[in-house]
Point group: C2
Chain length 140, copies 2
DNA sequence: CCGCGTTTGTTGGTGTACAAACGGATTTTG
DNA sequence: CAAAATCCGTTTGTACACCAACAAACGCGG
């Protein structure tokens, strides 16, 4: 029977550990970059990366469903970081683009964002960070 | 300058990857165990693990703040899986305990829960799973 | 060109998640 | 012992996150 195999222990389950790690990361993010939430920053980053996109396409690019991306886009627009216009060729589509302020903010914040990633991974050694991120990407 | 060092790419950031991995895990959980959410199952598991606890203590044991655990406890009680009574020694406290149904459900579901964890980690090799979970625990 | 399936964005509902503020109970401390 | 600090649970407000249902617009096959 050896050790404690076979028992269910919450604290060892991936799902629980993922939740805790995410909580810690969001805490670090909020400390270092209070202007935007991680989700808002992700959406802004993707808009800057992709140029003009429709709202749903942005959602797909950032792993948010249609209902979620709507709220995020609304908040970014309220802050004046992005602008939306009707697509002339397809009247259903909202074309989104970063405003000058949005792009400037994004560019001024990428260094901070990288620092946040580093701080999140800080409990791991150099080699471990690389291996961990690579494995994590496979779980997405 | 070698490769692409230095640039900020959303898809390589831990926070984003954590979010995606969590999404996938929650999807797997919902498929395999639709009766409860991952959070509700975590709370029920901890109650069964710890015996009687106060509401806030349960929150701390499951990494949920007071406002969050309240909603989770309310829903578990609505389902008849846990019961709450006033603590006689400390009139502030709500003492929580699993009902017979709650305990039975928990015990009948631990095997499924373990299978969910395994399926979440399925893209990794045996050795990788162990290393990954250990590192993930350090990030919490 | 017409109908039908699909896509786009919106809304409503549920469930985490956290901050801030609160009243009441308890504990600590002067 | 009385005042201060703390802890308990609750409420309110904001922000994801997803499901299901919807109307308008699009596009394709017949």
């Amino acid at each position: 029977m050896a050790d404690d195999t076979k028992g269910y222990v919450l604290d060892n389950q991936v799902g629980y550990l993922l939740r805790r790690a995410t909580q810690r990361h969001i805490g670090i993010f909020g400390q270092a970059l209070p202007e935007l939430t991680p989700t808002q920053f992700a959406a802004l980053a993707k808009i800057c990366e992709l140029g003009a996109v429709s709202q749903n396409a942005l959602g797909r690019a950032t792993a948010m469903d249609a209902a979620t991306i709507k709220g995020v886009v609304d908040r970014l627009r309220d802050k004046g970081l992005i602008a939306s216009t009707q697509d002339a060729n397809d009247k259903r589509r909202l074309l989104l683009a970063a405003s000058d302020e949005g792009r400037a903010l994004y560019e001024s914040l990428t260094a901070t964002a990288l620092r946040i990633s580093a701080e999140t991974l800080e409990p791991l050694s150099e080699d471990e960070r690389i291996a961990f991120v690579e494995m994590l990407a496979r779980l997405g």
